[in-house]
């Protein structure tokens, strides 16, 4: 130890130390490293002079460029709002019908509505708005609370069974669980309800359907209507169309009649602007399939 030797491969001297067989060369630091260290420091120095950097007591060096990230964000947002102002003002001001007649505005609605829907609604209703079990399909003509753009915008604003004071409220009673109908009667009602949307079903005896019809008139018609076509005033679904939120097979309908249902949609009044809600309502009407 302590003897400096020349490494035959690199030609550099060792430091003369040895640890468990490990030795080190005393190779000088290549000049390029000092150059890059200097360059990195110089870059930092310039940045420090130009930008807010060093704390001094209760304040800090503001930098020659006067950069302020908060002011920058505020300005950028204002600027962006200004650039959108031509169409935002129009959509805010004009009636739904007028906007629907304006192809340029409807293009904006399609572009912007798609991302608004994706970021706010798709989690429940699906990216394509086709819904899922428990969450209605929004591409059909069948709307619980009315399918006009005004009605949709109102539903988005107050929600359904939500925390909003003006919320839309509805409840399908638990006819079986709460003892309003015996199981045998529920069976009959279910048969009748199934026959409405699926008249071709073969497993529905005519007498059972007829008995179910009587029970329907006394128990269900007050909400769903004599013709079972529903009532958007109380959010009662149309039972004659092929669209079902909780499933239209015998088992699902029986579960619904027995245990009741109470869906929930949040209120968006405090989360989306009036403009955004208007765009969403128009977007959904536009998305709707033309078939029944």
């Amino acid at each position: 130890m302590g003897k400096e030797e020349r490494d035959p491969h690199t030609g550099y001297l060792t430091t003369g130390h040895e640890w468990n067989g490990i030795i080190e060369l005393n190779t000088p630091v290549p000049r390029i490293i000092y150059f890059f260290l200097g360059a990195a420091f110089l870059f930092s120095l310039v940045y420090w002079v130009l930008m807010p950097t060093w704390p001094i007591g209760t304040t800090y060096t503001k930098g020659l460029l006067g950069s302020d990230q908060r002011a920058y964000v505020d300005n950028t947002i204002k600027q962006a709002a200004l650039e959108r102002a031509d169409w935002t003002a129009q959509i805010e001001k004009e009636s739904y019908a007028d906007i629907q007649k304006n192809p340029a505005l409807m293009n904006v609605v399609r572009e912007t509505g798609r991302t608004l829907f994706g970021d706010n609604c798709a989690a429940c209703h699906g990216r394509d708005a086709h819904g899922a079990k428990g969450f209605p399909n929004l591409t059909t003509q069948s709307w619980l609370w009315g399918g006009t753009p005004e009605a949709i915008a109102e539903t988005i604003r107050v929600g359904i069974n939500s925390a909003h004071p003006e919320t839309r409220s509805s409840q399908m009673l638990a006819f079986g669980k709460d003892g309003m109908l015996p199981s045998a009667d529920i069976d009959k009602v279910v048969a009748f309800v199934r026959s409405l949307s699926n008249p071709a079903a073969k497993d529905l005896p005519a007498d059972k359907v007829a008995a179910g019809k009587m029970l329907f008139a006394t128990n269900c018609a007050s909400c769903h209507g004599e013709d079972a076509k529903g009532n958007p005033e109380v959010g009662a679904p149309n039972l004659t169309d092929p669209y079902w939120i909780y499933g239209g097979d015998a088992q699902s309908i029986e579960t619904t009649v027995w245990g009741g249902r109470q869906g929930h949609m949040p209120t968006w009044e405090s989360r989306l602007s009036t403009l955004d809600r208007k765009i969403l309502a128009l977007y959904l009407v536009d998305l709707r399939k033309p078939n029944p």
Binding site: N26, L37, M51, T115
Partner: protein
């Protein structure tokens, strides 16, 4: 293991275990209706198992004085096996959560199987379980040999190693029960943190005591790095985890800091955990195992000094680059960014010094997969530090932040650098520690190497692509001046990359499983009766003396 402890050490071990049992009972009683109680039971169980072990070996004859004639390596052996077990478990969980991102429904409707609980099991498992155990095991090995001194006693290394693993188990089981303080890489709650402080201080003191007994006049570079790792991690851990528990019977606590101060403290911790846990510690590993395996001198002692102090000084300032464009005052961001840029130079000096050390040994790199692990590690270290400095630049960060690019960057470092150098060091150590001629199968090491490299490359490229696409989608505007894509659109675009990432991760996991098998088979083969040379032994007291002036 117990037979190696002196009578006195056995008594101290029993006292420690008794104290641990009392704490466990108190926790279990105080936290009956809380995961805290479950952890009390776990601590009690650990104390009981430990006590049984000590008592069953209590009357074994004391270890002979001749033990002082050799290094104390059994804790290193245990640490390496523990590291490999943690690697397999934690990488398995990592690949699991990777598939969970491909198909988010894979949670069986169970709380413990949700992404938020499994992810920290993966991150803590690989960083602390795999990385931490490997660091402890190799640091014991390296500090003794480069100091030519045996560790001062037999109990402390076991206390540190087993105590540390108790911390890891408390952390991982806690996450599954929903126990977290919601600070990334510092998720364990207050009681686990206090325990780690005790263990870590013991580790620090053990390292200093061994160094103080050294028979070498100079302290080798690897020891600077290991020591920086131990010292700074203690400091980071204590400050970032200052918190007030809501009661003595609850796992929940609240941080001493609030709002942006809390965020800054967390990322001062978080980035320096990258610096001093995942960089310094593993550079210590590299500085010992690479020259040793290559049979070459360190290229430049002077470059070692520059990079050591450069890394140590610059890293401390860099944490705020994790909070660009947030509520954090802009001047703090500027400082973080500029110091991150300057940090690149000493980082590359380290990587360069490592690669230049291989000059004259490249034929060994070609033939020896173990050395190749270390070479690839140095290359990935260079790549990752360049990428890190680049991503710390504010405008770059505005694209990369919150995207998978960050995830790719972290894994370039964690898989390419940390895991590769660790596998290299472990493959080098196992035959040395267990006195075998070589690993059981060189072909399996080779297979592990290619699985690891392939997995890393697939992973990192998938995340670069997905991250940049994600970042661009989030900032693309349509002609109306509103965002062109919803968040869900970007998720749909990520799907193929998430599959690729999970496949890359699977490769890496397979490599680790092969590694564990290979190590196990190496241990099971018959020992080679090679005579120890003087270099394998510590210098006994009165042997060599420090030279004057050194």
């Amino acid at each position: 293991m117990i037979a190696q402890l002196t009578k006195n050490e056995r008594q101290v071990a029993l006292l420690i275990l008794l104290a641990l049992a009392v704490v466990g009972i108190a926790m279990a009683a105080g936290g009956r209706h809380d995961p805290f109680g479950a952890h009390g039971a776990l601590v009690l169980l650990a104390a009981i198992v430990g006590s049984f072990a000590v008592i069953s070996g209590y009357y074994a004859p004391e270890p002979p004085e001749s033990r002082l004639d050799s290094y104390y390596d059994d804790p290193s052996k245990a640490g390496i096996i523990l590291a490999m077990i943690w690697a397999v478990i934690a990488m398995f969980v990592g690949d699991w959560v990777a598939w969970l991102l491909v198909n988010p429904n894979l949670t069986f409707d169970a709380g413990w199987a949700s992404f938020g609980r499994l992810r920290p099991v993966h991150t803590s498992g690989v960083i602390f379980g795999f990385g931490g155990n490997a660091l402890i095991a190799t640091s014991y090995y390296v500090m003794q040999r480069t100091s030519r001194a045996r560790m001062p006693d037999q109990l402390t290394p076991w206390f540190v190693l087993l105590g540390y693993n108790l911390f890891c188990v408390i952390a991982a089981t806690g996450y599954l029960m929903g126990v977290t303080q919601s600070k990334e890489y510092a998720e364990p709650e207050w009681y686990a943190d206090i325990w780690l402080v005790i263990v870590w201080v013991a580790y620090f003191v053990l390292y200093l005591r061994t160094l103080a007994r050294r028979k070498e006049p100079h302290i080798y570079v690897a020891n600077w790095y290991y020591l920086a790792f131990i010292l700074v991690v203690a400091m980071l851990h204590i400050v970032n985890n200052l918190a007030v528990p809501i009661s003595w019977g609850s796992a929940k606590s609240y941080s001493l800091f609030s709002g942006v101060q809390d965020a800054m403290t967390e990322w001062w911790y978080g980035h320096n955990a990258v610096a001093f846990f995942l960089t310094s510690g593993f550079l210590g590993m590299l500085y010992y195992y690479m020259p040793k395996r290559a049979g070459r001198p360190i290229y430049s002692y002077r470059m070692s000094i520059i990079s050591f102090w450069g890394i140590t000084f610059f890293y401390m300032w860099a944490g705020s680059h994790h909070l660009h464009y947030t509520a954090l005052p802009q001047w703090v961001q500027s400082l973080g960014m500029t110091f991150s840029v300057m940090l690149l130079i000493p980082s590359w000096v380290s990587a360069g010094n490592a690669l230049m050390t291989l000059n004259g040994a490249w034929h060994k790199v070609r033939d020896d997969a173990v050395l190749r692990f270390m070479m690839v590690a140095a290359v990935f270290y260079g790549l990752t530090t360049f990428e890190g400095s680049f991503m710390a630049i504010r405008p770059v960060n505005s694209l990369s932040h919150y995207t998978d690019w960050t995830v790719g960057h972290v894994h370039a470092g964690a898989l390419g650098w940390v895991a590769m150098i660790t596998f290299g060091a472990i493959y080098a150590s196992v035959p040395w520690l267990w006195k075998r001629e070589a690993m059981y199968s060189a072909r399996l090491v080779e297979a592990h190497f290619w699985l690891a490299v392939g997995g890393t490359v697939i992973y990192v490229f998938a995340m670069w692509n997905s991250g940049i696409i994600q970042g661009l989608m989030w900032r693309t505007y349509n002609e109306s001046g509103t965002l062109a894509y919803s968040f869900v659109d970007s998720l749909v675009a990520m799907h193929p990359y998430y599959i690729a990432r999970a496949v890359g991760g699977l490769f890496f996991l397979l490599g680790a499983v092969i590694g564990l098998y290979n190590i196990w088979m190496t241990i099971r083969t018959a020992p080679q009766a090679a005579p120890e040379t003087a270099a394998d032994r510590p210098v006994l007291a009165g042997g060599a003396v420090l030279q004057a002036g050194e």
